[in-house]
Amino acid sequence: MASLPGLNLAAASAEPANLTSTSTETRQQDLAANTEYRFEVSFSRTLTIRLRTGTAEFFGTELGPSTTYSFKGTKGAIYTWHGCSLEIGGEAESEYVAEETTMMSYANAHFALEDLRDKAMQSNEAGPRVLVVGPDNSGKTSLVRILTSYALKMERQPVVVNLDPREGMLSVPGSLTASAFSGILDVEEGWGSSPISGPSPIPVKMPLGYHYGLGNPEEGKLYKPLVTRMALAVLSRLEEDKASKHTGFIIDTPGSISHGKGGVYENIDHIVSEFSGTCGVCFVGKLLTISVNIIFVLGSERLYSDLSRKYGHRSEDPISVVRLDKSGGCVDRDEAYMKHFRQNQIHNYFFGTDAENTLAPYSLVADIGDLTIFRLAESSAVDPSFRPGDDDDDVYAASKNIYEKVNPSSAMQNSLLAVTTASPKDPQEVIRDASVQGYIYLIEVDETKKKVRVLVPQPGQLPPNALVLGSFPEVVPDLLN
């Protein structure tokens, strides 16, 4: 196996040339207190924003007065509590100032959580455990980011759990991750970056990841067991990590689990029950006493009423179900945008942020036999509604057909493979439940020469671990161009 550090991977993105020309001219945008400047920038343009005077924040993270921030492929809003003046450069696809925002209610939500955190600290119990649900594009992730940023401003250390495979957090799409946050979030990069081999000006966070490999949780049989596993890990962490325990966790979810079937929200129920003490003993051998105790429902009245009926009034472990308004700024992101967004996340995993291209991945040539790939079996990906007998018990039943073992083939070129921490010899359940060590990308498969060329994030030999191939995210044909 040979590492090719000299590999030319200057992955310039689509139309970078015309950026600088527009960004030299800037304009001033004044904002009155409690208003926000909403904008959308395409992936091929850059919008720059600098705070001239006043205070301003981007999804809860304050803008540093001496930094000029660049946004690309972003939809968002700069909000100000006190009023501000911005210097804006570049071109937005759309931009306007909104006077009606939901920020006060999101701040209220934060301060309600703060009260609980103060109490948790006094009694050394777990702080608020929050689940955020709502349809696609209702602002769930934005709310989670705001709540996280505000918690960080109060020197808290929230654990954020992303259960939405459509959008990675500190990882690629298709993954489910959790991370404790401390310090700061980044205005441009949001959640930050997973560790790199050198200093990073973007705050580095430590994600724990599992690979789901499908875009929709309602699709397959893997989602629930992975949620179970994630819950165990997070609850175990909370048992031991005081700072995170007192702050509690916040779970972000995909919109699809909020659709429900006849008023039943199977996956929400599963998350609530798994992120709670009922599953018994955690990894560190303690009885768990932590469970989701707050559900924020964004937008949907119906979801709110269904969930309050189910959880709001139960005598044991009642859950506060609270509805929050959907921000008027929420943008419906079409599939083309989401695809671009995903490819960008994958690019950033290997190469660092788009703008800086700071990371140097390695290309490695290996024998076909060096890769043991487990592809999600068709049967794991079928809609559970086709399987009337498919209940929770079935999910945990030992099965050999979660994955099928496949050889690398040219059809798999440009796919992302999850490098699990399991051995290829492990039972399939172990592979499924194994956390992910990282991702590699199949550049080329030469079936006649029996060679594969893969892109790996870091130098060294290819780990001999079990690799998982899902159908999501889709192939990224131009990752190296």
Binding site: L7, N34, M104, N108, A180, S194
Partner: protein, 685 residues
Amino acid sequence: MSNASAEVAADFRDALQDLKINSRPEISNLTIIAKENTEHAQAISHELENHIRTTRPEWKLPALYVLDSIVKNVGTPYTVFLGRNLYRTFMDAYMVMDPANRRAMDGLLKTWKQPVPESMDTNPVFSPEVTRDIENALIKIRTVTVQQQAMAQRTPHGLPPRPASNPMASGAWRNTPTPPQGGPRHAAPNDPRVRHNFPTPNNYGQLPVATPPSQVPTPQPPVTSIDLESLKADLAKLIASTRGAWEATPTDLALAQKLKALMDLQTVLNTQTIPPQQLQAIRTQIQALSPPPPPVQTYVPPIATTPQPFIPSPQQAAPPSLPPASGGFNLAQLLAQARPPVAQTPTPTQPTLSLADLLRRVSSPGQMSSTPVAAAPFPPPPHFPPVPQPVATPTPAPAPTLTPTTNLAQLLAQMTKSGSAPPPQVPQLPQLPTQPPAGSSAPGATDWLLNALKGVPQMATTGVLPQSTPTASTPMTRQASGMTAVPNSVELTTASMKQPRFHLIARLYGAKPNICATCGRRFENSAEGKEKKARHMDWHFRVKDPDATKRGIHRSWYISEKEWIEYREVDESAPDTANSAKAAAVTLKKDPKEQYVHVPADAARDAPCPICLEKFDSNLKWHTDANDFVWMDAVNVNGKVYHATCWDEYSKGAGIPAPSTPDPVLGKRKADIGTPVSGKKVRAY
């Protein structure tokens, strides 16, 4: 090696044997052989390395030009094969060469750190990891040579001079010594990774042997009266002002580079005894650094014995009044230049820091907490003006009659009683708009009313950030949540979420008036807050390291489930001691590739890795942090040295342990690798 490979290699070797001068056709010919036989690249690379190692010193340089030509015109896979041993190939040759040839090699190295001219590929010819090692070794050699010669009281004529350091003037690649190649015929149009664009002949300068870097000997000014202390003081001043400037405009890479270079210089000055001659050189260095330094000067070669005339390049826009190096030394002028235009930034330049403070802060930020802060190494940055001038912030005049200060206790009692039930005022609220009404005054007014009713201090509602008074030594945040918890408590109901509570926002802003201009993180105005901010600023400085981008940084693997559960977050503003222990523990096991051992004594030096039976020769590396030659990717287990990657794999056994099983090697490694590798403390960033 296959037969075909052996044959090609033999041909190549024969052709090499004849190469005794810088013959353009011969070098071209060898490049073509390499190009047309990439499937035998390993054998060819091996031949070439062998030849460079064994041939007579005066014939080494032409062979190095062959290497240069191949890696630039063919690229991979040669860059890989030749890159592996490049350190050895290069350094072995360097050690036996005369100064002129060394200069030529310096020139070569410089071009290897850059992309191939006119290529689409923006990556350097060799990866920064490869060239950095060589560069570090060269710096060390120069330092040592200079010191030896200084001690021997000899004139510095035989020294390897610094590489000509004016890369911005023309693009350093123009000095590339490789003779021109025939043009695009070498390109492999089908291979996307091959560099398509070759330098056109006229882009190549003449061979450097014929044209050594233009160094006009400058008459040295008298060196008799250099006072070390005053030099140090000057340097400290320059550092302080540069640091101030950098803090004001932290995005300025050139400034950061300058700061780093100055601090390196300071270390040299403080740790080594330097003869007067060298002091003069340092003085020249300080002078040279006064305008924005060119990037290559990051590694301030500590002692340049042939001070070069300072020629400001056009980009540097040096004021015409700048005296040449050989002339007078006007520190005041330099300092004036080093200062940024104050108007550029809302944060005024920091007052001058004392040298001691600076050193302490830079070298071991962790000691900060135990250091008396009397000297105020980090004066609190001025409060950021909270209210923007151009924006009319709603500041309704307080209605005195509404301010129920006398009834506070009563109100508090009411609030307490209300518990989960809405407070008495709330029934009025449903009439309020669910969202703050449009316009900027109405919400403020509503808010004001509510706050007044709740007895919240006026300042919190107006958008004016309360400035912490000097008496506020307890953390404001906790104070706020503790003392006013009851009236401020927010009930977790859908209705409660819609009530405006603007006074609470002060807990996110005013409670921490001290904002980091770079990232917006806020700090309390207490002593602790100041320390935190100082450490936070140090963090910004560390991660802004201008060298960082050149280091071939890559994404690391994620930690395992068990490690994650046991991992504790690192806050960059927390005292270092709290951070490093935990962080180092997880990190050391993180990347076997980056583990190393000091090169063992002679007998053990030839022992191969017991697992793969390969020797460690190619792992030899100068390790900056360890300040020693080390074997990378190596680990010492019970007195035997293994490749860390081999051991890692082996220790995991045939079956990798279940994710929750602890790694049995972890403890061992910690014990074996005594020196924590600071660069590897991923978490510390």
